[in-house]
């Protein structure tokens, strides 16, 4: 990169959204500098851990089966967000999701049919061959080939603005300060979930028990700088994409392998050995994203998913081996739960299970009766030793507090008027569409759609 130069477009953030912005801006003829705060080996932000994007389609298309029309997509989004979404922006994302794949393929992204064990997603989600890091690698190769300048280990420390107009950015690279000048800014620097102090501000001490599923580099600096400069924000700082993951996961960056997919098969108890939510409410892909918050609200933010010997082999095996014991009493001891309490919980559950034909592929009739909370589907007695348990903690994928934008990806100033030359894409503005809840694969859709729009708009604005 050339720090003495004034670029047309400065992209802050080298994940999917930033790369899409850089590629589309460069393609439109703009000179582009992309700043990625991580070292090269860990580039790509949370996109490194993704695997698909959710696409609208009216008929079977390449890797996607059947059809997923706009209305159904919209209804799915309304269900998870409880209506907390910006309909105009959401519908624009949904419609444009239909044409993302050819654009992505042009820059080297390869697709594949849905992965094994993801039957419920084959209709709605297009999977990247090799996952998100392969996608990120393809985009960086394409960006370099097109002449996008990329700086790794480049952290934005300060932004110079005049009103809502961007002028330049103070950047630290390997301990040295530089000034990046550009006619436009695309903020694509992710949420603030890796900033534990900020999380604690929002959640209180409970945040200390949260695990960050993705990149440790999403510290929210750019979000804070822009909101501090008077840009309008959307969303609640406690809202985000949060799932229940294995409590033994690394503090950061554990990604997909820390998933525990047996919640709907067994029961989940808190540290008092009490159940607290209907484990079989709906299919796991439709429910996994509520369990992060559920566990976050339990004492000490810990829970335990318990299954018996009938269940291994029917769900994707978690990365860490379970805690195992021949009896519920001994399992409780191994988990440091009150043995009598866990025995009582399991006995109550077993007694409440009504006979039915178990089928994990459909919403079957195996339910409990007279139990609170109930288990509505896939309820089978825990009666076959050995018993296994996986400890669970809230795993934060990304936070939803973000920059308010319009349909041209322009960031809105405090007075609601769009900035001349500041654009946003990806997790940093996903809160416009996701007020709460999560729909598998929509993060990458938002990043791709808004990234390409931000890149095009920035290039157009910078053009003489």
């Amino acid at each position: 990169m050339d720090w003495s130069r004034t670029y047309d477009v400065l992209v802050v953030g080298g994940g999917n959204a930033g790369l899409c912005a850089a590629l589309s801006a460069r393609r439109a003829g703009a000179s582009v500098l992309l700043l990625e705060s991580s070292p090269r080996e860990l580039r790509g932000g949370n996109s490194r851990h993704t695997r698909n994007l959710r696409c609208m389609h009216v008929q079977p298309a390449d890797v996607l089966t059947e059809a997923y029309p706009e209305e159904e997509y919209w209804e799915d989004l309304c269900k998870v967000t409880g209506g907390q979404t910006n309909e105009a922006l959401a519908r624009m994302v949904i419609r444009r999701s239909a044409t993302c794949r050819p654009w992505m393929s042009r820059y080297g992204v390869r697709f594949q049919p849905s992965l094994g064990g993801t039957l419920h997603l084959s209709r709605t989600n297009a999977f990247f061959l090799g996952g998100g890091k392969a996608l990120v690698n393809a985009y960086y190769r394409a960006a370099e080939a097109l002449g996008v300048d990329v700086a790794y280990g480049a952290e934005v420390r300060e932004l110079e603005l005049e009103g809502s107009r961007f002028l330049s950015a103070g950047v630290s690279v390997k301990g040295f300060r530089h000034r990046a000048r550009a006619r436009t800014l695309v903020a694509a620097a992710g949420g603030f979930q890796a900033n534990t102090a900020w999380l604690r501000e929002a959640w209180g001490p409970a945040a200390d028990n949260f695990i960050i599923r993705g990149t440790p580099y999403d510290d929210g600096t750019v979000l804070k700088l822009l909101s501090g400069a008077g840009m309008r924000t959307v969303g609640d700082p406690t809202q985000g994409h949060a799932v229940a993951i294995d409590a033994r996961a690394p503090r950061f960056d554990g990604g997909i392998v820390t998933r525990v997919d047996c919640v709907s098969l067994g029961i989940v108890v808190n540290e008092h050995a009490a159940r607290f939510y209907d484990e079989g409410e709906d299919f796991w892909p439709k429910r996994y994203a509520i369990w992060g918050r559920l566990v976050a609200r339990q004492p000490d933010q810990i829970a335990y998913a318990i299954i018996d010997a009938k269940m291994p082999g029917t769900f994707v095996p978690p990365v860490f081996p379970p805690v195992e014991a021949p009896t519920i009493r001994e399992l409780a001891a191994a988990l440091r739960l009150e043995p009598a309490a866990l025995e009582r919980t399991v006995e109550d559950f077993n007694r409440a299970v009504r006979p039915g034909a178990f089928d994990h592929a459909v919403l079957d009739g195996c339910a409990t009766e007279g139990l609170s909370p109930p288990k509505s589907h896939w309820a089978r007695r825990l009666d076959t030793p050995p018993f296994s348990a996986y400890p669970l903690r809230p795993g934060i994928t990304f936070t939803y507090l973000g920059l308010a934008v319009d349909e041209r990806a322009r960031v809105l100033a405090g007075d609601g008027r769009p900035s001349d030359n500041v654009f946003a894409a990806g997790e940093i503005m996903a809160g416009n569409i996701l007020g709460k809840g999560y729909l598998a694969g929509i993060g990458m859709t938002i990043g791709t759609v808004f990234g390409t729009i931000a890149g095009e708009e920035a290039a157009r604005h910078a053009a003489p």
Partner: protein, 378 residues
């Protein structure tokens, strides 16, 4: 040196660890056969690790795509771990077991055996014609080679070496197959065997899921696949040339050497060309590959085999070109010595990868016919 009966404990533990990670992730499922095969499993015993390791081509596709590759704290180096397991499995299945140690010294073993082969054939030539016969110029006439070395001696040496290699490789294949626990006959006589043979021959999974593998660097490429095809084709053509020559000799009573446009010479020349260019390309790629994805301990094994192929082919072509000169006698001994070393080291060198890859692909084909475990939770 006695080969280990089991994988070193740390290697088996690391193998299980990386399999657990990959089985929980599954993002690489579309790249090759290794990932769908591991996804059928919930636990990874030594036999599973050996099978999976021999399905792997050691391209870099999964390394570059891996969200857990170093510097991530999981330090997942899948292809390198599999390469290490594969190396041990080569030794475990080498027969007779006393010679398994040669695997660790692939390059040196090939060099010593080549020298021994050269001396053997020089001695045979001296026995036949004395020092005068060895350096005399030769008329390009039928039977000129056998004026140097008696046809009987040549056949006796190569028949012994060929049978030795075939028997050792067959025993290795049997040992590998026993470890899988599959039905004994299925490895050679089944629909899966036909499928496995065809998949091995066309390098079906050296394709990165379509469009080529990340080898030698990050950019998907078909280079290694085509260079390997060129090498195998060269090997096959040389074998065909020898077979046709045998038919000429015994069936048509036409002794070597043959005219330049005869079938054995044309096949041998094309084959020799393939064996020079294919390995040269593979060596070039090997020089440029990412050290993070390979097991450096195996470079000798790989390079030894490729260079031996080139030397055998190169001396063969040279022999053809100079067969009327005084160098013919020495070149003949050199060429035959190298070919002998190639045969004898086949069961103790890189060539075994073909046998075990084939067997692993047969097992993969067998498994593909069985129902997949149903993970309905997602």
């Amino acid at each position: 040196m006695r080969p280990p009966d089991t994988l070193p404990r740390e290697l088996a533990a690391e193998g299980e660890r990386v399999m657990r990670l990959c089985n929980a992730c599954r993002y690489c499922e579309g790249f090759c056969a290794v990932f769908p095969a591991l996804e059928r499993r919930l636990s990874f015993a030594e036999a599973d690790l050996v099978y999976l390791a021999n399905l792997c081509h050691n391209c870099g596709e999964c390394w570059y795509a891996c969200q857990y590759a170093p510097p991530h704290e999981f330090e997942l180096a899948f292809s390198r771990t599999l390469a290490q397991i594969r190396a041990v499995s080569y030794q475990q299945n080498a027969r007779p077991r006393a010679l398994a140690g040669l695997m660790r010294h692939g390059g040196r073993a090939a060099a010593w055996l080549s020298a021994a082969g050269l001396l053997l054939f020089l001695a045979l030539e001296l026995a036949r014609g004395g020092t005068g016969g060895l350096v005399a110029p030769h008329p390009d006439a039928a039977g000129a080679f056998h004026a140097q070395i008696s046809h009987g001696a040549m056949v006796a040496v190569f028949l012994t070496a060929g049978l030795w290699a075939a028997a050792a490789l067959a025993l290795g294949l049997a040992a590998f197959w026993r470890q899988t626990g599959e039905r004994p006959g299925d490895v050679v006589a089944s629909r899966a065997a036909a499928q496995g043979f065809w998949d091995a021959l066309r390098l079906r999974y050296l394709d990165g899921g379509g469009g080529g593998c990340a080898y030698p660097d990050e950019v998907p490429s078909q280079a290694r696949r085509w260079l390997h095809h060129l090498t195998v084709a060269g090997f096959g053509l040389c074998f065909a040339s020898t077979s046709v020559a045998a038919i000429y000799h015994y069936g048509l009573a036409l002794p070597a050497p043959y005219p330049l446009l005869s079938l054995p010479v044309v096949l041998g020349t094309l084959g020799g060309g393939g064996l020079l260019l294919g390995p040269a390309g593979l060596l070039w790629l090997k020089l440029r590959r990412n050290p993070a994805i390979v097991d450096p301990a195996q470079t000798g094994l790989d390079v030894g085999f490729l260079v031996l192929l080139q030397l055998a082919a190169g001396t063969g072509l040279l022999l053809m070109a100079l067969r009327q000169t005084a160098a013919m006698g020495t070149l003949l001994a050199l060429h035959l010595g190298l070919v002998l070393a190639l045969f004898v080291t086949m069961p103790y060198g890189k060539f075994v990868h073909a046998v075990y890859r084939y067997a692993a692909l047969v097992r993969y084909a067998l498994e593909q016919r069985r129902p997949r475990p149903r993970f309905g939770s997602e």
